[in-house]
């Protein structure tokens, strides 16, 4: 009898403890969601399947986009659906290779891509720079998930100069 009573007590305690843990956890998630809007992209109860967002369209303007900083790999301003880039072939190079640019009028692959790791310029694109989409990506018509605080280097410099003045 006594033993039973004891176990019941402990069960109540356990439930209470568990509940408080859940409560703290839930409030933490709420705080995180407020402070860091990207803490979760799910925004739906765990047991529910949220409707996935529509697949955005790829920008296909063919207009070159400015780079945000000099070393930025330029983004691809056209669709690349079904482009084969593998051991056998590289679809991008059918327009962007050195010889193809005369006909295609596409920008040539930068000469840095012809260099091997010792900086020696080779006759064609180096294997280590062969897989275009490792760095170059298409852009999609989407709203940024969070505010972007990136500042262009020119703005930074002009800001510093103004402050100095």
């Amino acid at each position: 009898m006594r033993r039973q009573n004891h176990s019941r007590m402990s069960r109540t305690a356990r439930v209470a403890a568990l509940f408080s843990v859940f409560a703290i956890g839930a409030s933490l998630v709420a705080v995180a969601a407020e402070e860091y809007p990207l803490a979760t992209l799910r925004n739906s109860p765990i047991a529910k399947h949220p409707v996935p967002p529509a697949i955005p369209k790829v920008n296909n303007t063919d207009l070159r986009q400015a780079r945000n900083y000099p070393e930025q790999p330029p983004v691809i301003p056209h669709t690349i659906r079904g482009y084969q880039i593998d051991l056998n072939a590289n679809k991008c190079l059918t327009c962007h290779s050195r010889k193809a640019t005369e006909q295609s009028q596409a920008p040539m692959v930068s000469v840095t891509h012809f260099m091997d790791r010792d900086g020696q310029v080779r006759t064609s694109v180096s294997p280590r720079r062969f897989f275009c989409t490792q760095c170059h990506v298409t852009q999609k018509q989407v709203n940024p998930l969070t505010e972007n605080t990136f500042v262009d280097v020119d703005s930074v410099i002009s800001g510093v100069i103004k402050k100095g003045n």
Binding site: T61, T79, Q84, N88, A89, K91
Partner: protein
């Protein structure tokens, strides 16, 4: 040898005599109408059989096609796209006009040979041979001015304003001037491109 030749000649002459002698038992009406009906039946059967070999089901009934080229076709725009219009194997690989079709079908009898002797019966054999196969198909398209593309994609009805700037520019410069044909640029759109390094070293 000589005896055999004489006997053969005799037999042929016999056949010729039978064919050139007027019919002894059948009426002219039976022969003409019967011949006409038999002609329809034979022609119908021939055409049905021909069309049967001109379907995707027939093509992918061989594992060589199903597991290699057909599998590669599936993610491409000629298999799945927004409007649901799609190209099947014979749309691109068999001419639609009858004479060209028969010519292509006769050439394709070599594929039956390949099937029987397992020329590309494994993935490795296929990869080994695919440059040759692809080159043959590219040459065929070049020779007939990409006829099978143009069965659906008619230059006359292309609206350049609906194309991307790049596409419109290129079609205007190279296609309108007939400097190039479809396959010159649009290679590897329905199947993977084979090892082109090999092609370059072979040249």
């Amino acid at each position: 040898m000589r005896g055999f030749f004489n006997r053969l000649m005799e037999r042929i002459k016999g056949y010729w005599r039978t064919l050139s002698t007027p019919s002894k038992y059948f009426s002219l009406g039976f022969l003409t109408i019967g011949g006409f009906i038999a002609g329809i039946v034979f022609w119908g059967a021939f055409n049905t059989a021909l069309e049967l070999t001109n379907t995707e089901e027939f093509c992918i009934s061989c594992h060589e096609m199903r597991d290699n080229v057909f599998a590669e076709l599936k993610p491409t725009i000629h298999y799945t796209n927004r409007s649901g219009v799609r190209a099947t194997c014979p749309d691109c690989h068999v001419p639609h006009e009858w004479t060209d079709k028969i010519a292509r079908k006769m050439a394709a009898s070599k594929e039956v040979w390949g099937k029987i002797f397992g020329t590309i019966s494994t993935r490795e054999k296929f990869l080994e041979k695919r440059l040759e196969l692809a080159t043959r198909e590219w040459d065929r398209f070049k020779a007939n001015d990409s006829l099978e593309c143009r069965n659906c994609h008619n230059f006359q009805y292309m609206d350049f304003t609906q194309q991307s700037k790049r596409a419109a520019d290129h079609h205007e410069r190279f296609l309108a001037s007939k400097e190039k044909t479809c396959i010159d640029c649009h290679q590897g759109i329905a199947h993977q491109v084979p090892d082109l390094g090999k092609a370059a070293s072979a040249r």
